[in-house]
Point group: none
Chain length 226, copies 2
DNA sequence: AAGGCTCTTCAGGATTTCCTCAAAATTCAA
DNA sequence: TTGAATTTTGAGGAAATCCTGAAGAGCCTT
C-alpha cells in the first residue's frame, strides 16, 4: 500500500515516513510542489498526506489537481494550527480527513488507516476470501483462524491479488504495484517468480488451497474455482 | 488486439510497448509522422495511442486524418503537460480519451482497455456469441458455463473471430492481427492452420458447435447459421 | 560484529505453447 | 474425372515461459 507524503519540513517528513514504514506502508516523499505534482501524475497512491501550508501556498493547487484527475486516492490534509481556518474548512470538503500540527504519529497513522479502509475496503478492516482472512489492521493473514507468517512483499502481493480476484494480472502490473517505478525490470521477472513461489508455499503449508493460478503468457489469476 | 503507438521518444515508446505487451496486446510503433500515416492507411488497429506533441506538430493532422477516414479505431491522446490547453481541449472531442505526461503505465493500460471495451464491446467486459461466453478480464472462455482452457494464441484468435462474426476473414488479416508486422510469413500459413485446428478441437470437445467455417481460397468465417 | 530476516539474483530444469514439416484429405475448376 | 490448389491433421522439435532451490546482498537488531 503506497503512501505519498507531501511535506517540506524534511525532519517531519522523515519521521512520518519512518513511522508509516514501520506500520507496513510503502512511503514516498515529496519535499516540494514540483516533485509532488510529478509523482501524483506518475503513480497511484492509496493515500496522500498533504501539508496544505506548503511554501508558496500551492498545496491547494495540488488538491485541485487531484480532484481534477479524479484519482481515487485518499487524501489526508495536515496544516499548522494558525493557518486560516476558513480556507481550510473549504479545502476540507475535498479531502478525506484533516489534522492540525502538531500531532502524534500514532494518530496520523490511525487516520491514514481509516481513510484507506473507508476508500478501498468499504469501511471494513478485514478481507475474507474463501478460507483466507486478511486483517488490515493487524496486517495478518489467517487460514481457518491459524496465523500465517508472511513477509511484507508476500503480504502486499496477496493483498493485491485479493483485491483483483478473478482477474488476470500481468507481471508488469504486479511489478509496478509492488515496486513502484524505481525498478527497471525490462525483461526480468525473476523476483516475482520467487515471491509467488514463497507465497504459494506458505499458503499451502498453512492449509489453504493454491489460489494463485498461473496463466501462461499472461500473468496470474487469483481465484477459487478450478 | 492491435495497438499502434505513435510517439517519437523512443524510450517511452518502447516501455509502453513492453508494458502493453505484457498485458497481452500486439503492439506496433511509429516514431515519426510519415510512418504513422503509412501504418494507419495500411492496417486496422483496435486502439491508437497518439502523442499529440510530435515534433512538427503534425499529431493533429494525424487525428484529422483518422477522423476523415472514419476509422473505428479508439484513440488515446497523450501530451506534455504544458502544451496548449485549449487546442487540446478541442482535440479532446475527437479522441476517446486523453492523458498528460508523465503518466503511470498501468493507468495508460487501464485507459486503453477502457477505450477498447467501450468501442468494441459496448462497455461490457464479457462477450457472448451463442453458446460461447468470453470474459475479457478473466481472459476465459466458457461453453454453457463450462470453462475451456485456451492458449494465448487460441484466445486471441477466438476473440478476433467473434469481433468479426459473419465476415469472411483472410488469413493475411489474421496473421496481421495476431502477429503484427514483425512477422514475415511470405506465403506460409501453416501456423494459422495449426492454431485453427487446435481451437476447433477444443471448442468441439467443450461441447460447442464448429463455428469456424472455412471459405475455400478466401479465409474463414465465424458464424452460427449453417 | 554477528545473526537473522527479507529481498534479489542466478542457474537448472520442468512445463507449456508455438512453429515446422510432410502426408492425407478436401475443394474447386477444367 | 482428374489434377492442382488449398486445407486439415498429427507428430516432433524449437522456443518461450515458468518453477525451484540455493546462494548472495542488504538491512535491522542485538
Amino acid at each position: 500500500m503506497k503512501v505519498l507524503i507531501i511535506e517540506d519540513e524534511k525532519a517531519l517528513s522523515e519521521s512520518i515516513s519512518a513511522y508509516l514504514n514501520s506500520e507496513h506502508y510503502t512511503c514516498e516523499t515529496a519535499l516540494d510542489f514540483k516533485t509532488a505534482m510529478e509523482k501524483i501524475s506518475l503513480y497511484d497512491y492509496t493515500c496522500i498526506i498533504l501539508d496544505i501550508t506548503l511554501p508558496g501556498g500551492s498545496g491547494m493547487d495540488l488538491l485541485r489537481e487531484l480532484k481534477a484527475n479524479h484519482k481515487a486516492d485518499g487524501i489526508l490534509i495536515i496544516s499548522a494550527r494558525n493557518s486560516l481556518e476558513e480556507k481550510i474548512l473549504g479545502l476540507k470538503s475535498g479531502a478525506d480527513d484533516y489534522l492540525t500540527k502538531p500531532f502524534h504519529l500514532s494518530e496520523l497513522a490511525a487516520r491514514v488507516s481509516a481513510i484507506i479502509r473507508r476508500k478501498s475496503f468499504d469501511g471494513k478492516n478485514s478481507l475474507r476470501f474463501d478460507e483466507l482472512q486478511l486483517d488490515l489492521l493487524e496486517k495478518t493473514v489467517r487460514v481457518h483462524n491459524r496465523l500465517i507468517d508472511l513477509t511484507r512483499k508476500e503480504y502486499d502481493l496477496l493483498l493485491y491479488f485479493i483485491s483483483n480476484k478473478n482477474k488476470v494480472i500481468s507481471k508488469g502490473a504486479i511489478a509496478e504495484h509492488l515496486w513502484g517505478d524505481n525498478m527497471d525490470m525490462a525483461d526480468n521477472y525473476d523476483f516475482i517468480y520467487t515471491h509467488i513461489k514463497n507465497l504459494r508455499k506458505k499458503l499451502l503449508q498453512g492449509g489453504a488451497q493454491d489460489y494463485i493460478k498461473s496463466v501462461y503468457g499472461m500473468g496470474y489469476k487469483f481465484s477459487d474455482h478450478p
